[in-house]
Symmetry: C2
């Protein structure tokens, strides 16, 4: 079968150059041109044979910035970080089903952060799919589970229209993953015509009814939780929410446990997050009789625990949905503030130096050191689920910054997200706070930081393993782990040598074992262009 | 909702000890006991909260050997290598959808190698699934695409029976991935009763008709390809096939391009593989007028290329299916030999020293060095798709060994597979031949090699990138890549420092840039217990 032969051109360099002037585009070139027309000019990739025409197009279309990642979960996580900070999609470019599978976890996280991503997957030629070649798999079936939009573009006539639809789908509020599957023969066939993506529709305003019901709940005076996520966690809407709380003392504002991005720090309205561990979360929410959800979900425990409920709000609390995640959340908060005539000034976080830290590096001293040393306008990527649990509260009065979290619980999101955030925000320092267990999932991102000269300070909080699991073990089993169980939760014997790993990828690194050493290393790293890794040797718990 | 409360026990240590004597088992303990009864005593894992009861069971059930891997694709790839060499399944233990997704690519490879694996996935508690907690996803939907058997065990009464069925499903010829999903509340609930797995049925013998048709094709005297894979590539059946070829000169025996395991080397019947690149593959197969498939598929190109066919056999060749992959392939070859009265002695590979290698490390000198230095009875794991393309032919007359390949085209299979092969074959040296691009996918496996003290020599063939893609680019585009396209295929700027990466994971390492240095390093590594990494700095192509 030589079905591909008709549409083929195998011209030499000069012939191709001539063709370019005539602007006869193949499918891959058409996609690149459509992406650029739609404002998508970054592509995070680890390509293979099925993506070679896209790679070829890079030589003649320099406007597309293509970033090589050493494993696909780095590429998808970088696209997540880029989307969160740029508020527009980057593209990925992945190699068939296995490439998608390798990057699936960070697409899962991205989907739960509502990050806009145009997720491109190269596929076998249309006529080759029936032969079950070794790399064949059901790409669409895999993609559906993390995508709001999936399409296989099976002709060069439709491939640009599909790419434009993918861009629009990725950008539609609140943002999401749009997956376009591009067969190899569609990439090489000629006759593609770039298409402009439609402008995204504005997010719908909340209904007047919903606003009035929420206002009524607050006026009733019972203890009321105003629970925020998504776009409600930018500085402006947070300040609106804080005005409501200042005007109505029955209201407390909180954010979900996990959120894509929070603008915070000194001079901004502070927001507390629902605690991750189930017992403190239940205790914290117990007093509320009303909950007003602003894009947020009815809060649930991360996991089930014996004898504990899955839902975190008290059963007697009334739940009001002010706005869904795809609605215009800032407008919803403004409408609510107006309905309540909330005029009291918002209470903003002061700029306040943390307690001076000395001695060994513990969860507490590290929290102080971070708050003290955080550069102004930093982007903090936080994936330090055990040691770092107190970092958020401690940095409330630090210099203004953005805070990005793992939203889907799939570890290995941090270093890739730092790559994408740094690409989206040149001139801002990215601080990547990583537990050692999580960092080991996708530390290949360090190489991309080195290659692209990204201003990322990665802090690996090395406590020798998955400390969170020791806590979960106790919470579930009611006892501490014995020696054989512990061995499956500890990354010791041998210990990871983080400066060696970083050097292997071309990133300079420092090991710090006490507060003074950390303080100096953190300041130096943040003041030096390019990436740096600090291994913080954590003492005690 | 506290649906889990009824079935719960949160007893302290002494209470649990007392319970163990009464042999009241929770679901997790029941699974472990069922696995052990079914001959599954190795478990490769990166666990999370949903797997904590399984981890807890390890403290009281020391017979289960549990091996921590730093990322799930290491765990699944290790289970693949174990299954190929032990001919019985290991278990995995993965954390919900993201854990499965992270390990999906090597399950894809394992499925295409027909490796037996009991793939255990911890899941949210049954009653917690409806709340769409951050880690929620459609686990079964993901698993179906790489599994021959999938079940979610939603009660403690069924969980052991399901585990026994999973073992049987994994072991049924030709072997495969059986996925059992275990909700957290099923793990913690009591009342599990271990179940013995059924013995696997013998693989069916081929039909007499199929044997006769194949024999008839050979008797006709036309050029005939006897194409083997799976169990037909062990030393015994290979020798039977070689007897047929010796008796009937019209017959040539070959193996598929990719196969799970081949027993080969001096004193065994040699077998050539269909070349990976499509042009040489077409040229090699052009002469055949008959093809007899012994578990093998009608051969197809790895990818489609403009103007090239997908099928590799000439259109006029008659294809005869002697046996399907699940049939008894050794028996099929014996029956065919009997039908043909094939009595001529098989031609076996002599023990023959390779040409002496000197000077820079190239594809050719490395092939000689490997053939020269291969320890007797080694297990070779080969994932070196560009530099290593000639290694197979060059080692045909080396000391006897097993040869394991990436079967599904998903890179990052090698180092994990080396972990599993070493666990399955204590006393045998494992040689892991890795392209640098592939090795970067799952080099976290090095840490498990160090922790478990595995006798693995990893040779990273460092040519500074994805050399195979430069070849694919030329094959597809008809021209060499320009500077921007090349940058996406080269892992330079910065170069990877492999000895640093290895040291970071606790594995001693050497860099070798010429033949003498490599020869000495290879000999020393293979003579020293425990793991070692050699970075071979490849010159030229």
């Amino acid at each position: 079968m030589v079905a591909g032969a008709a549409a083929v051109s195998r011209r030499s360099g000069p012939q191709r150059a001539a063709r370019r002037e005539e602007t006869v585009l193949n499918g891959a070139e058409g996609i690149v041109r459509t992406l650029l027309a739609g404002g998508v000019d970054h592509c995070f990739t680890n390509p293979g044979t099925s993506e070679m025409y896209f790679v070829q197009a890079l030589d003649s279309i320099p406007e597309m910035r293509c970033i090589l990642c050493l494993q696909e979960n780095v590429a998808t996580g970088a696209a997540d970080g880029y989307g969160r900070m740029a508020d527009r999609p980057a593209a990925t470019l992945l190699h068939l089903g296995p490439g998608l599978a390798n990057g699936w976890s960070n697409l899962h996280n991205a989907a739960r952060a509502f990050s806009p991503i145009v997720n491109l997957i190269g596929e076998h030629a249309t006529y080759h799919r029936t032969f079950d070649a070794p790399l064949h798999s059901d790409i669409a079936g895999l993609a559906e589970r993390v995508s709001r939009w999936v399409r296989s573009s099976d002709s060069v006539e439709s491939v640009c229209r599909d790419a434009a639809e993918a861009i629009a789908a990725a950008r539609a509020a609140p943002g999401g993953v749009a997956t376009q599957i591009v067969p190899l023969d569609v990439s090489w066939s000629e006759g593609a015509t770039p298409v402009d993506a439609a402008s995204p529709l504005s997010a719908p305003a909340p209904s007047a009814d919903a606003v009035e019901r929420a206002a009524e709940a607050i006026r009733s005076g019972g203890p009321t939780l105003l629970l925020l996520t998504g776009a409600a966690l930018r500085a402006g809407p947070l300040e609106t929410a804080a005005r409501i709380a200042a005007s109505h003392p029955c209201v407390e504002i909180m954010a979900q446990t996990s959120n894509g991005r929070i603008e915070r720090g000194a001079g901004r309205a502070p927001v507390e997050r629902i605690p991750y561990p189930v017992a403190p979360a239940l205790a914290r929410l117990e007093r509320f009789r009303n909950a007003i959800l602003v894009g947020a979900k009815d809060p649930v425990a991360f996991f089930a625990y014996p004898g504990r409920p899955s839902r975190l709000l008290p059963a007697e609390a009334q739940v009001h949905r002010l706005a869904e995640i795809g609605d215009d959340l800032p407008a919803a908060l403004s409408a609510l503030a107006d309905a309540l005539a909330a005029q009291a000034p918002a209470v903003l976080a002061p700029a306040e130096p943390p307690p001076a830290a000395h001695g060994p590096l513990t969860a507490e001293t590290l929290a102080s050191l971070l708050a003290e040393g955080l550069p102004a306008d930093a982007v903090v990527v936080e994936e330090s689920v055990s040691v770092g649990r107190g970092f958020f509260a401690a940095t409330e009065t630090a210099a203004p910054h953005d805070w990005l979290q793992v939203t889907g619980g799939a570890i290995g999101n941090g270093p890739p997200m730092a790559v994408g955030a740094a690409m989206a925000c040149p001139g801002r320092r990215v601080i990547c706070l990583e537990g050692d267990g999580s960092a080991l999932y996708t530390h290949q991102a360090l190489w991309t930081m080195a290659r692209e000269g990204l201003d990322v300070t990665t802090v690996v909080l090395n406590n020798g393993g998955y400390a969170i699991l020791h806590g979960e073990f106790r919470a579930l089993a009611g006892e501490a782990a014995g020696p054989r169980a512990s061995r499956i939760m500890d990354v010791r014997e041998p210990a990871i040598d983080w400066p060696s790993l970083a050097a292997g990828f071309g990133v300079p690194a420092t090991r710090a074992a006490d507060a003074d050493a950390f303080r100096a290393a953190f300041a130096r790293a943040n003041a030096t262009p390019g990436p740096h890794l600090i291994e913080a040797v954590v003492s005690g718990g």
